[in-house]
């Protein structure tokens, strides 16, 4: 109660008229600023002013002095402008977005869906024609439906897994880097997990828990955060001891707020870059897992299509070509976007 009273008093003190001995800002003009060289109206040429007046003292406006120099540079605007300059990345992003939207359209306009009855005797490996636009697979299902379903499933899996990895990795990385006393713990945890090949973990999980998409997706997140966390931790070191963090500590700011208001914004560019590169990485990883037989093969995914097509490659080459083209588009897009974005984020390129 006593503390409250005291606070009230000081607020009143604050409200006492502020005598600004240095600069009187109470008189700041509120009219919209016009484009003028120094915020003051003057005739364009000296001829309009009589010579006597030219050599009289001008009125002094302190707010003009205050206004003389600041830059209107904005980091994110420059990043965006620089990114737009990289035409291949921009074009490929448009292609990718179109591709993703088309996966929904394709399923709708296709004549069959993935649940089409199998008929391996009559319909196996029919080359693409007007009935089966992408041909059929080994058991006589429409490949068009298979490919687009797989594309959508793989992109969703890749995006969700990458997002999961990044979120977990960034949170752990921030705490790992900022809290000195936890550095040892996280370093040991990292070593413990990282020193055993993830394939071994994945095999164990697939065999013991199950091979469905959700389980494997969670497992991928469970090991994928390591790299991000380490990367973030190293970056946090650069910002940890800056004076503005000391100022926050001085003001009693809580750890979470320091991490997310003071440090996280500086890492956004790196995080987006990592995320962009993690998406094709996840698709490739999924392909590997399918090849090893660790993925659910009842629903099509790009990894599954590629690994089955590989065995019939010269005979039914179209089963490899269609998914391969799509994987290439995704990989190239995110590679270009990642690179373009990391270049655009580098303040040295903003010159």
């Amino acid at each position: 109660m006593a503390a409250k009273k005291e606070r009230k008093k000081t607020v009143q003190e604050l409200e006492a008229p502020v005598v600004n001995l240095n600069v009187k800002y109470n008189t700041v003009d509120t009219e919209p600023k016009k484009e003028r060289p120094y915020g003051r109206e003057y005739p364009k040429s000296r001829n309009k002013m009589p010579e006597k007046q030219l050599f009289e003292f001008a009125e002094y406006h302190p707010q003009d002095a205050e206004r003389t120099g600041y830059s209107n540079y904005s980091y994110w605007k420059s990043v965006w402008a620089n990114f737009l300059k990289k035409k291949p990345a921009v074009i490929m992003s448009c292609v990718f977005i179109a591709l993703f939207i088309f996966t929904f359209v394709a399923s709708a306009i296709g004549k069959y869906d993935i649940y089409m009855a199998t008929d391996p005797i009559n319909r196996a490996y029919i080359a693409p024609n007007s009935e089966y636009w992408f041909g059929t697979n080994a058991i006589g299902q429409d490949y068009w439906a298979q490919v687009w379903y797989a594309t959508r499933a793989s992109i969703l899996l890749a995006v969700l897994v990458s997002l999961g990895q990044i979120v977990v990795g960034v949170i752990i990385g921030l705490v790992w880097g900022y809290v000195r006393s936890l550095d040892r713990f996280f370093t040991e945890l990292y070593n413990l997990i990282d020193n055993i090949p993830t394939i071994i973990y994945m095999t164990l999980i697939a065999l013991m828990i199950g091979k469905n998409m959700v389980t494997m997706g969670i497992a991928m997140v469970g090991f994928g955060w390591l790299g991000t966390a380490r990367n973030v931790r190293n970056l946090v070191f650069m910002y940890r001891d800056r004076e503005y963090n000391l100022a926050s500590r001085c003001l009693g700011t809580k750890l979470g707020r320091i991490l997310f208001r003071n440090i996280f914004p500086y890492l956004v560019s790196v995080i987006i870059l990592r995320m962009a590169l993690a998406i094709p990485g996840t698709i490739a990883y999924e392909t590997t897992l399918t090849y090893l037989g660790l993925m659910d093969i009842t629903k099509p995914s790009l990894g599954m299509l590629l690994s089955t097509a590989r065995s019939v490659f010269p005979r039914a080459s179209y089963t490899l070509i269609f998914p391969a083209i799509i994987v290439s588009i995704i990989t190239i897009t995110f590679y270009l976007v990642g690179n373009a974005f990391s270049d655009a984020c580098d303040p040295r390129n903003h010159v």
Binding site: Y38, F55, Y60, H61, T68, Y75, E243, L246, C250, T253
Partner: protein, 686 residues
Amino acid sequence: MSEARNLQTVDFDARARQVLSQQPLLSAKDVEVTFSLRGNKLVAIRRASLDLYEGETLAIVGESGSGKSVFTKCFVGMLDKNGSITHGSIEYDGMDLTELTEKQWLSVRGKKIAMVTQDPMTSLNPLKTIGKQIQESVELHQGLRGAAAKAETIRMLEAVGIPDPERRYKQYPHEFSGGMRQRVVTAIAVACRPQILICDEPTTALDVTIQAQILDLIRRLQKEQNMTIIYITHDLGVVANVADRVAVMYAGQVIEIGMANEVFFDPWHPYTWALLSALPQLGIKGEKLPAIDGTPPNLFNKIVGDAFAPRNKHALNIDFLEEPPMYEVTATHEVKAWLRDPRAPKVEQPHAIKLLESQDGKSKGTDPNAYHPHLDPNRQPLIEVKNMQVTFGSGRKKFVAVNDVNFTIYKGETFALVGESGSGKTTIGRALVRINPITAGEVYLEGQKINGKISKAQDLNVIRSCQMIFQDPMASLNERAKVDYIVSEGLINHHLYSSEQERQEKVQKALEEVGLLPEFSSRFPHEFSGGQRQRIGIARALIMEPKFIVADEPISALDVSIRAQVLNLLNDLKQKRGLTYMFIAHDLSVVRFISDRIAVIHKGRIVELAEAEELFLHPLHPYTQALLSAVPNPNPYLERTKQLLVYDPSIHDYSTDKPVWEEILPDHFIYGNQRELDGYRKKLGL
């Protein structure tokens, strides 16, 4: 203790005659340098002209962004890639330097015109020994090889004052201190025996005592090798020390140039007036410094008329319309100001300029009616520090940063803590706001212990009562948050407002109080200049309504013209709010103006603590005396005749007679053993 320099006097008139009788060695005419930056054109040098005469030291003074570095980089062909000379000529040795090809530059750069850069920490290769790096330059430019080159290198090391050069030859840069590295960089530049040596703020990153030694070294080398020196600096004390002639630059132009005595004692550009009168050395304690409002212009904008006009209290109407020509004051002194036009009204130079000549550097105007809280019989201690110790690391790497420190800060006073880099002054400041934990000892706030484990309510009280202002305005604000968030961070943390509207009102009030426009709250920090950013930092601390503020070198990273604004603001706030400051600084001249009492710290230990004037008049500890002797004085005559004292810690023999922290006079504390204390007492006539 030894006297490092002989008395020397300067006869500026003789030098002026010498200048007038010569042809210029290097002559830059109407140089314009344009940078292209983010698609915009930035004119960094706006048709600046300069003549350099053989054997002289020309100092170029200006704030950051005035173009002083860029201008001189043109003389060695080292402009950054996105910059180019778009107009004018630089004549040297029958050549026009603006038209040299990269190949032709090789015979000029380093050989005839060499440069010493600002940062000794980054200008040496960490993977090569010091000897190798100097020898490279010796081999390249003097044509010596093998043993002869090595012998010359060792001679060079000796010449720049590095003890034990044979051993030092084999060492790497990390084994050298900042001052030593600057000597090495100087040795590399001088090894090619250049005709012109450009020194770009070579002492800015160094402590005052080291700075004084480097200035001595440069002066000595100049005499020995008959070099012509261009010395770039923003520190008028350094200018007074080294310069024969001074050129003042503002917004990419030379606005005043003349012999050092003319520029210091008879300046005619309002900017030079403002710079000189804003010096804390000339300020009277308890009165406001005549500050320059605002910030230097943004050179992206087209500048019409005199660039200084909007900040100039003596501006004429014509200053806003037309650029002034150069007016001659004397044969050696030129000024670019309309005030010198015969049609202009007659103006007197400001009072402070006249003080400069009469000032003897010893006694000093103090407002006799000024209130000194520590002299009040009812003084109340606000902060008490007892036997404080701060250590970093542990085991073998343990480092004692602050050792057994005792002091009391009284309510309402400004307590200054002065020391060189690495002395532990910032550590003490941070320990008081509890950023650095204390290893031993106690800290009391209004009689209550605040270190160690304390209650939550007490913790909040300490956070609100003790705040800090930081040194580097660039690093102390979160670039990715709006000013609104930065200023109200403390409020948000502790919910010190009842409604969103109240929070915003508090922010506006805090901004207004530090002299910023309330509309700034929606902007990001990068839109502001250093001085404005520093004021945002002050607003952030003020909004907590603290009683005690630790100001950690709040002006040392600011431009000269901005410093006075911040000092005035701190003094205003102190009067209005009854604040108590701990002012951490390395510059004694600033401290004398602002503080009531001064503590001098050396290697983690406070060696002397006294009332400000008392400390300046009767410094007792040899380290205090050495610090005082090195303080740059903005008076060329005094600065050049001052005696530099060097402190040698080995004079203390504490092996048998243990030192104590003793109050030798009321409020004058000193650290020493009984024998030393007896000596000090004798000196004081006790």
